[in-house]
């Protein structure tokens, strides 16, 4: 009895324990599901907008006098998808007859106001628009073409990918994905139990996990969390998340997310996610333009982007593509005939070094960052934004070409260290601070690391103009001030002694400031900088646009400060703009889908440094280009084009810089290795070549600012700094001085001497005036 009672008691206890355990498990399960639900929903919500923000390049303005040839205009129209027809009576069509182009411009909703579609007759002459008329023959003062779409982005996410909305996806793609990867997609609830069972069976038999059996939803979840561990627990977690997703979102949203998310290949260290980017990566064209065999290839690659890599394993990829085509035919997605024809076509994969002109990851990254910095988060998560950017596609193309050709030249050089270099080019408009082109590397692609913005490198001699600016700002120095080219030793706080030397190890004694800067001599610059004070020099960096004061070490005078190419571009843009600082910007305006403009930062101008000091520094930077370290650029620059600039080389030739400007473009070029190893290049041998190639290939104007009214030009001897006459010999250089500045006169050739040393040719004279 007692025994029975005891056993029934223990049975009851067992039952109770069982209930408690079950409840406990249930609670744990609920918590786990809630946590997973939160995670997966957040991830999905963040990317589910079916309408990403569309980013446009700057539009081409059309007005009489605009420098644009008929050839280039026709090219631009082709690029924008305008059709050449015999009767341009619909928007998006044009007809060229010699130097006259009739075009029916498309309607477009610009940020300032919508522009209606309209017919125009444009006559060209001498590389410019001669006249612009409407069909009635009335002059049109100004209008613009619809701008080029350069990308679609989710502003709040930082990935390098081309987001596509459903209307940009060929209908065949989702159907093919379903047919090949997940036949029950339209009806299942996130998982396919049968497939899992089958997979389990196969796996258990094989003793390890080999087969997926995943639905598209599960693959999507897996991609979100990028966990490649194939444990059973992991699988269960994925399955639960897939079910949660299905219960909360529409099938169409899930399919769209899949198309934008799934991993499809590897480009060096950069993962290719989404069919939009994959289409560019493999075929060099937008997803909407892919044909059947191309779509089939991408669907084939989904199963194993590395195993079926069409570049590395073309036979495997071809075999699997044709398998996909047969499956599609079997399941009625395409006809037998279509499949047969498609099977015969080649893979059609574009060369790895594809044309970059269609994709601007570095620039789009800048757009994304500036949007996040300048706009309200709530506004940015709104669907269907239109972003008007500052990119000039033609300039971008030229910038990519200039960098590519210089890198190719270095690759072919006998010096091993200058092979495989990376490079950055940034082009800005001095007056407005607009970033019109930005190249982030040799492949115009990057994996989250944007060299133009994130690579911080010592700027070398690019720092020197700031030392001279700081000196001139005090009012105690002029371009004729004598600086000492003599050795200097500085004891550092840590006990080390810093002993800078000139690049050529020579010492030249006293010389005027203009020569020291023009020839980029280290010792005079260090001596001058120490006299002026490190604090003042550091302040000049901030005046020109650096966010933070650089650390005040003596070596900063020679550019030990690490800056990104973008920061350098900001500082030099201020120099190019006469000392007026305009924050560099990549976004002009943003429109909500409703057509309402979002509150945006406007064009800003701040006088950051005294105009007189900046004018003098700029004038010295012009000398750099005519007789200093920038002189080799003259070989490729158009004769008569006045430019200013400065070379920069960091210690042991690790970084090659050039920063300089014309009247309408400021350009910064950096070249170096990602691992910061030696390049064997100076600023002159590396970056300057790319810089001058670019500067000479774009329509630009001479650097020719108005001289501040408190200044006058006087002629000094380049070697002695004594006042002289321009006719004495080649060593006279015209520099700005405040009225009444006392200058010592040269004995050999005092000011006022009238005999020219060598007569100048008349052509040179004509070109001296821009």
């Amino acid at each position: 009895m007692a025994k029975r009672r005891r056993s029934s008691r223990s049975r009851r206890r067992l039952q109770r324990g069982f209930v408690v355990l079950t409840l406990l498990l249930l609670v744990v399960a609920v918590v786990v599901v809630a946590v997973l639900s939160h995670r997966v929903t957040r991830q999905f919500e963040g990317r589910r907008w079916t309408l990403p923000a569309r980013v446009y390049a700057q539009p081409i303005e059309l007005y009489a006098g605009q420098s644009l040839s008929a050839e280039r205009f026709a090219e631009e129209l082709d690029r924008l998808g305008y059709q050449s027809v015999s009767k341009p009576d619909r928007p998006g069509t044009y007809r060229r007859r010699g130097s006259v182009i009739d075009v029916h411009v498309r309607a477009f909703r610009f940020a300032d106001e919508p522009q209606e579609a309209r017919s125009l007759r444009i006559a060209f002459a001498g590389g410019a628009i001669a006249s612009l008329q409407d069909p009635q023959g009335a002059d049109v003062p100004i209008t613009r073409l619809d701008p080029m779409l350069i990308g679609s982005i989710f502003p709040t996410h930082g990935e390098d990918r081309i987001v596509v909305s459903p209307d940009q996806v060929p209908a065949l793609l989702p159907n093919a994905l379903k047919a090949v990867e997940d036949r029950k997609f339209d009806t299942h609830h996130g998982v396919s139990p049968l497939a899992i069972l089958r997979a389990l069976f196969v796996n258990v038999r094989a003793g390890q996990i080999e087969q997926g059996g995943s639905t598209l939803t599960q693959q999507l979840v897996k991609s979100y969390f990028l966990d490649s561990r194939r444990t059973l627990g992991r699988k269960a977690e994925e399955a639960v998340m897939a079910v949660i997703l299905e219960s909360r979102f529409e099938k169409a949203d899930i399919m769209n997310a899949y198309i934008n998310e799934i991993y499809l290949g590897q480009d060096g260290r950069r993962a290719i996610h989404g069919f939009g980017l994959a289409s560019q990566f493999y075929f060099g064209k937008p997803l909407a333009e892919l044909d059947l065999p191309e779509i089939a290839l991408l669907v084939a690659v989904v199963r194993g982007p590395s195993y079926y890599d069409p570049r590395r394993h073309p036979e495997r990829a071809l075999e699997r593509r044709n398998l996909v085509l047969r499956v599609l035919a079997e399941r009625g997605v395409i006809t037998e005939q279509e499949a047969k024809r498609a099977e015969r076509s080649p893979l059609g994969v574009a060369e790895a070094g594809r044309k970059g002109a269609v994709f601007y990851p570095a620039f789009l990254d800048l757009v994304r960052r500036q949007l996040r910095r300048d706009y309200r988060e709530d506004d940015l998560t709104e669907a269907g934004l239109t972003v008007f950017s500052t990119l000039d596609p033609l300039l971008q193309e030229k910038a990519e070409a200039a960098l590519a050709s210089e890198l190719a030249r270095q690759d072919a050089s006998p010096r091993k260290v200058s092979h495989g270099l990376e490079g950055v080019v940034i082009v800005t408009s001095p007056a407005t601070g607009e970033v019109v082109a930005m190249v982030g590397g040799r492949r115009a692609s990057f994996d989250g690391f944007n060299r133009a913005l994130d690579a911080k490198r010592p700027i070398g001699s690019l720092a020197k103009p700031l030392v001279y600016l700081a000196a001139l700002e005090t009012g105690r120095y002029t371009p004729a001030s004598i600086v000492r080219d003599e050795p200097v030793q500085i004891k550092l706080p840590n006990g080390d002694v810093w002993k800078p030397a000139n690049f050529d190890k020579l010492v030249r004694g006293n010389m005027p400031a203009v020569r020291a800067l023009t020839q980029s001599l280290n010792l005079p610059t260090v001596n001058l900088g120490l006299e002026v004070g490190l604090g003042r020099v550091a302040r000049a960096f901030v005046q020109l646009g650096l966010d933070e004061k650089p650390a005040e070490y003596p070596s900063m005078l020679l550019g030990a400060t690490n800056l990104s190419p973008f920061e350098v571009a900001q500082m030099y843009n201020t120099l190019a703009n006469g000392g007026f600082r305009s924050p560099l910007r990549a976004v002009r305006a943003v429109l909500a889908e409703s057509g309402k403009a979002l509150k945006a930062p406007q064009l800003e101008v701040t006088q950051a440094a005294p105009a007189e000091a900046v004018y003098a520094v700029d004038r010295m930077l012009v000398e750099v280009m005519s007789r200093g370290t920038g002189r080799p650029a003259r070989k490729s620059l158009p004769e008569g084009l006045v430019v200013a600039g400065k070379t920069g080389t960091s210690n042991d030739y690790r970084d090659s810089w050039f920063a300089g400007f014309s009247g309408s473009h400021s350009i910064v070029v950096w070249m170096g290795h990602d691992d910061n190893s030696q390049t064997g290049l100076t600023g002159t041998t590396g970056a300057l070549a790319a810089w001058s190639k670019l500067m000479s290939s774009i329509p630009t104007s001479s650097f020719d600012p108005l001289m501040p009214e408190t200044l006058e030009i006087r002629w000094i001897d380049y070697y002695s700094g004594l006042e002289t006459s321009p006719w004495c010999d080649g060593s006279a250089v015209g520099m700005p001085f405040r009225y009444g500045t006392p200058l010592m006169a040269s004995d050999a050739c005092p000011p006022g001497s009238e005999t020219p040393a060598e007569p100048l040719l008349p052509e040179e004279t004509a070109e001296a005036v821009p």
């Binding site: 300032d112 064009l603 800003e604 006088q607 012009v622 108005l706 009225y739 004509a766 001296a768």
Partner: protein, 192 residues
């Protein structure tokens, strides 16, 4: 064809005593000068004439806020008043229409378009400054006025407008004394 305007410019500069000293890098233009005063561009008037007005005080640091000296040390040669291209005129008119409708962002966009076409036209920077006044961004209005000053050296009517803008922006911030000074400069320049 394109040489003609250049030559005309050379002559103009030479005659006017060369206010606009081009940033040329080699020795100065001899023939340009010979058409004018017979001495090198830009240097002749300076070398021949002694300073008429006391130079700026030594040691006075040209700070960012430094007031421009009330007496300009030397009469810089005059240049013709700035004008707008037809394209800029159309855009300024469009901006004005947008401003009247209260669409200030739209007006900004229109003026920025004009500025991209003619970035060196001081009149457009003044227009932009006036728009900033409407937007109650007085500091930027002044900055834009100063930018216009920098690019209109020798152009009295335009400088006068720029000083008027600066005066308005100072007054709006309660800087009445400076505003008065700026207004007087504007008036003096308008009378010349």
């Amino acid at each position: 064809m394109r040489l003609l305007p250049s030559l005309a410019l050379v002559a103009l500069f030479a005659i006017s005593g060369c206010a606009v000293e081009p940033f040329k890098s080699e020795a100065p233009a001899r023939s340009g000068a010979s058409k004018g005063t017979g001495s090198p561009a830009g240097s002749a008037p300076v070398l021949s004439a002694p300073p008429e007005v006391a130079p700026p005080q030594p040691g006075a640091e040209p700070g960012i806020e430094a007031p421009v000296p009330a007496t300009v040390p030397r009469q810089r040669p005059k240049v013709p008043p700035a004008t707008m291209s037809p394209a800029s005129k159309a855009l300024v008119a469009q901006a004005e229409a947008q401003r009247k409708k209260g669409d200030l962002p739209g007006a900004t966009q229109s003026l920025e378009r004009a500025l991209r076409i003619e970035p060196n036209n001081p009149l457009l920077w003044i227009e932009m400054g006036r728009l900033r006044m409407d937007q109650r961004n007085f500091t930027q209005a002044e900055n834009l006025g100063r930018k216009a000053l920098a690019m209109s050296v020798g152009d009295d009517p335009t400088q006068s407008q720029a000083w008027q803008l600066i005066s308005d922006s100072l007054r709006a911030r309660g800087k009445n004394v400076q505003a008065q000074e700026a207004a007087e400069r504007a008036r003096a320049l308008a009378e010349q």
